[in-house]
Amino acid sequence: MSDETVIEVADLTMSYGATAVLRGIDFEVRRGEVVALLGPNGAGKSTTVEILEGFRAPSGGTVRVLGHDPLTGDEEWRSRIGVVLQSWRDHGRWRVRELIDIFSRFYASPSRPAFDVDELLERVGLADHARSRVRTLSGGQRRRLDVAIGIVGRPEVLFLDEPTAGFDPAVRREFHELVHDLTDLEGATVLLTTHDLSEAERLADRILILDDGVIVADGSPDELARRVAGSSEVRWLQDGQRHVHATADPTAFVRELLAGNGDAVTELEIVRASLEDTYLAMVHKSEAGALAATAADAATKGVLR
């Protein structure tokens, strides 16, 4: 990792009509970093990535990827960016090797040659399927093909939007290994989105938690865990009654509690809020919000009818 900043986002906002999806986002990504944009559905993750990829115009703020505004990035800039898209039913008739090969031919810069197609097939574990038609691949194989297409031009910055959505655990693990491989060997900068905390913890050097269009946390998985550990619950039984106390410094609280009440305190418990608890609470909150909005919407419609 170097000090060079490859992605800069400042006060980024995005609205669709009256709905604000991003409400002023700031972050930077340095060369070689793997950053996860984590958040519940509808938090604005995909919108952020699509703006960085140059597929969407933001409503406000500034965005720079490799020093360029993605919207006006030229073809040379485009050749340094990798986008992993999810294949659905495109190119079903194509053979795997031919498809990767045709995309590699767009990157004909002698200074930064594209991947050797066979080497890449080997790398993503599709060597045995080189001649298979794309439509005959399993979901996991298709995803590896998508990754191969996304990285065939040896991108300096790679965007992965919900790369493992719909994967079973075994395929997901395989995919994580592939991403580790890539970042270790190629030194690419990676920005990925996910709503799965464990995935973010496994893959990323740094996690940005996005909730309702705002970044609510930014740090390495360890830092974030320590930060939310600030809130812990102390539970105990005293004179036949249950007590619960939330505190930022459980050690000090317990020291005082025991010094003051001594033997009367039994069944003492300290529960640290994990990163997962915090994140799940956040997801629940936003899902409850969505439900409430739907209910309100339904109610309004009912009245109107």
């Binding site: 050749s79 986008v83 999810q86 495109d90 767009f106």
Partner: protein
């Protein structure tokens, strides 16, 4: 534009060749061509001796250039339109927008593929006709003008296909309604009966459109000169035909790139995903 993106163009040509080969390897597509061939041969045999009223002109002779024009319309205009609409939905276009000079390669690919499909579609009519239609090549070298006229037809109609595919979002609407509109235009524009039989105002409308003129131009080089009496104005107007087709070609070549760029700009993963969800619900 600083340099011609040669690599992307070469990749596009290769893409078109692979798509064409994939098409040849798809049984349903081959069945479509086989059916076309059988239909053409059957029609040529059934109507072999039929003539138009008492004029003595062969019906088959008159129909043949119209059939060629129809084949060109389907392969060079309807084809790219449906391919483009379908591939916007399935994400093929989006993949290309993420490549350096990807759209150039993509458009080159569709063009190469459509030209090859047009050649096949024309040969399906021309090859059996050469054996079954008497005097088809009797005018000798003049009939070779079919080749430049087909090229002009490609220039006039292919951009229109790209325009339809970029403007209309739903591939099922493009393939369904598109075919209906195409058939109405083909039949209305006198590919299969003399346009002179229609009321005058309809003739004028249809003569602004390029379909009539493609048919007229092909007839003018493939039919005996005296069959001009069946045309509007009872004469051959090859220059006018080339002029109208040329204007349409220029219009299309100016408009199509702008519309294509616009539709490419509007693509993003979430747009494709939304269409995917909508399509899945329909299934």
């Amino acid at each position: 534009m600083t340099a011609i993106p040669a690599a992307a163009m070469r990749a596009g040509v290769r893409r078109g060749l692979i798509e064409f080969r994939n098409m040849l390897q798809t049984p349903s597509e081959m069945l479509y061509y086989a059916f076309g061939l059988v239909a053409v041969v059957a029609a040529l045999i059934v109507f072999r001796d039929a003539t138009i009223d008492e004029s003595g002109f062969s019906i088959v002779r008159f129909l043949l250039p119209g059939l060629l024009a129809m084949q060109l319309l389907i392969a060079a205009c309807f084809g790219p339109a449906t391919v483009l609409a379908t591939e916007r939905e399935d994400g093929t276009l989006l993949r290309h927008t993420s490549l350096p000079h990807g759209m150039r390669g993509y458009v080159t690919g569709i063009t190469v593929r459509s030209v090859l499909e047009t050649v096949v579609a024309l040969l399906i009519v021309l090859v059996p006709a050469s054996f079954l239609v008497e005097g088809l090549w009797a005018r000798g070298p003049i009939a070779l003008f079919v080749i430049p006229l087909v090229l002009l037809g490609l220039l006039a109609f292919m951009p229109l296909g790209f325009i339809v595919g970029s403007v209309f979002r739903n591939p099922r609407a493009v393939s369904g309604w598109g075919l209906v509109v195409l058939m109405v235009l083909a039949i209305g524009s006198g590919l299969f009966f003399p346009l002179a039989l229609l009321p005058g105002y309809l003739q004028i409308v249809l003569m602004i459109l390029p379909v009539y003129w493609l048919g007229h131009a092909l007839r003018s080089v493939l039919l005996p000169g005296e069959m001009a009496v069946l045309e509007v104005g009872e004469s051959w107007q090859l220059l006018a035909a080339v002029g109208v087709l040329g204007v349409w070609a220029i219009l299309g070549l100016v408009l199509a790139p702008a519309l294509l760029r616009r539709s490419a700009r509007r693509e993003s993963a979430s747009v494709v995903e939304r269409r995917r969800q909508a399509a899945l619900q329909r299934v």
